[in-house]
Symmetry: C2
Subunit: 353 residues, 2 copies
């Protein structure tokens, strides 16, 4: 393992790290001591039937949900719900390549095993059940890779998910998205400092991490984001300043192997693994009331891909979020973003199931 | 200079290399002996008023026009018109970093000067006038960077351009497109074999050229191209085979410095340079009957960007080309592509001016 100060409460606020013990993995092998970083808001009621699960996206953690999505003025209201955010495996806060030590020491760095979306969901279900006694979720919600986990929850544990809100993501990763993941990964791996994953510090891979940020620049935001210079809303006065002052440092503090572990997982998200490749059959299993929420300007999870999946989910609605930022609208920068999210999630939560 | 067998008649059919003498450049400096590779079809009539100019795109040459666009069954019909394709500076066939020798030897490889779209158009105008005696063009047509040159022609020499057909490109490069160019360039430059532009062979930069191809994979084609597996139309039986059998070798034979010279130029295409940054004033100068022809699925020259420009051109129409390939629809792979191009160009050529 290596020390990386980014993955600490200084940058991510309070959270607990909870062990769920040994986690056997779909691809073989196991994590001997799977630790999940967890943040909660609100109180679990006596009936234990007011819990909401938040899943996390690539490179993101619970912290963006704390800063943007959760609060008494939002649909994700801790005064009404017990809200649990569980950081995905490889996130850097939960068990990840850079922090594997102790009984996980054999998994450190380049030796980290392949982890799938399904592994995360199995781990999350165990944690909720064993640690909190939660057997049913009012709602599962997540963006991007969090949407992948949301779909996986709804297909794998239909009886446990009352409502689902996958935002800006798909149940079955698309071929284009797979190639996008490849391009992101090779930015990192092509840096000589990466050294096959056995670098001494993420700083050794700074060039690769910057290139990785530059690919996000052209796919994570929309063409209109750049044309309208929406970055000015983030108080930068030039495109270059936004890149070097925001997007590059956003990624260069992170751990390269952690990002690669998440990217590999993202590329292979697919609920049809439960049904021999039959996506319609998999999505047909979903009993949750589901709001499918693509972002209209998303360059790599375009609404048409999400709409095609929504059409296969029995009790579902398509709720397109309008945001010129595109996929990274998830950051909640646009003042028009959260009102849409709150309206959709509020209506979903108000739906009787 | 270095030898690169790709830039030869074996791969590009017959063409002439014509010197236009010294070309002074907008960014300063000059090309002492600017040589342009030229292909023609048909006969110039006595009045010299039946000439059409074809401009070339990034990494492309006249050859794709020969194979796909020009012929007696097409609107670009050599039985009616004298058609001239002039390969852009940096294309590898015209004066370019890899082939600079003789009196251009000081420009070789990393020492090649910055060349702009306007330099190309000035060079092309001189060649047409001095070599062929052509003072007026029935039509200027080009795709992508060829569209940039088409716009530059129509703004710089309005009296010489009767009709203009910019396909899948813009008059003023967008910020997103600039960043896309940056990402492409750094794939090449980050390869240790690039050696600051002083490699011994393009094979030294194979890794970087492959990564460059992978970025084209996610932006040059549309998300639907990959989803619908349209590459099967090119007789590949897997996505991976298409990448390693088509898209990677398409670029790895090319010269890295040549690609960088074109990319730098592409990033800065802007007709508003003629009017102190006023795009409306620049496009308002155009007197050519103009068909603006974006491709509906283009990821980086989206129709809305082209439509906004078309609205500023006095005698113009928006003619959207439907093609699931996206930007690289320009290759003419889809059987539905050329009928649309021929219909639009045919109608444009039939318009009285």
């Amino acid at each position: 393992m290596i020390e990386n100060p980014y993955y600490s409460p200084e940058f991510h606020g309070d959270y607990d790290v909870i062990s769920i013990g040994r986690l056997d993995l779909e691809e073989g092998g196991s994590i001997p001591d799977c630790q999940l970083a967890v943040t909660t808001w609100g109180e679990l009621n006596e009936a234990k039937d007011n819990a909401i699960l938040i899943t996390t996206w690539f490179s993101g953690t619970h912290q963006i949900w704390r800063e943007v999505y959760v609060g008494p003025d939002h649909a994700l209201n801790p005064e009404r719900y017990f809200i649990v955010a569980i950081n995905q495996i490889g996130s850097g806060l939960s068990t990840s390549p850079h922090n594997a030590d102790g009984s996980n020491a054999d998994l450190a760095m380049s030796k980290f095993p392949k982890v799938r979306i399904g592994d995360d969901v199995v781990a999350q279900e165990r944690l909720l059940r064993e640690h909190f006694g939660v057997e049913k979720l009012v709602l599962v919600v997540g963006g991007s890779m969090g949407a992948q986990q949301t779909y996986e929850w709804a297909v794998r544990f239909p009886e446990k998910v009352e409502r689902a809100a996958p935002i800006a993501g798909t149940a079955q990763n698309t071929p284009h998205d797979f190639l996008y993941g490849e391009a992101l990964k090779e930015q990192i791996r092509s840096d000589p400092g990466f050294n096959g994953g056995e670098y001494a510090s993420n700083a050794d891979v700074e060039d690769g991490l910057k290139r990785h940020a530059h690919i996000w620049a052209i796919m994570g935001f929309s063409t209109e984001f750049w044309k309208q210079e929406v970055w000015r809303a983030l108080e930068f006065d030039s495109r270059e300043a936004f890149l070097t002052g925001f997007l590059e440092p956003y990624f260069t503090v992170m751990d390269p192997n952690d990002l690669l572990a998440m990217a590999w997982k993202w590329q292979r998200g697919d609920v049809a693994r439960h049904t021999g490749g039959d996506l319609a059959a998999a999505l047909g299993r979903i009993t949750a009331k589901t709001f499918v929420m693509p972002v209209d300007e998303d360059m790599f999870f375009p609404p048409r891909d999400c709409k095609a999946e929504q059409a296969l989910i029995p009790d579902s609605e398509l709720r397109v979020v309008e945001d010129v930022l595109g996929h990274l609208g998830l950051f909640g920068v646009a003042p028009t973003y959260m009102p849409q999210i709150d309206r959709h999630l509020g209506e979903l939560l108000d739906t009787k199931v």
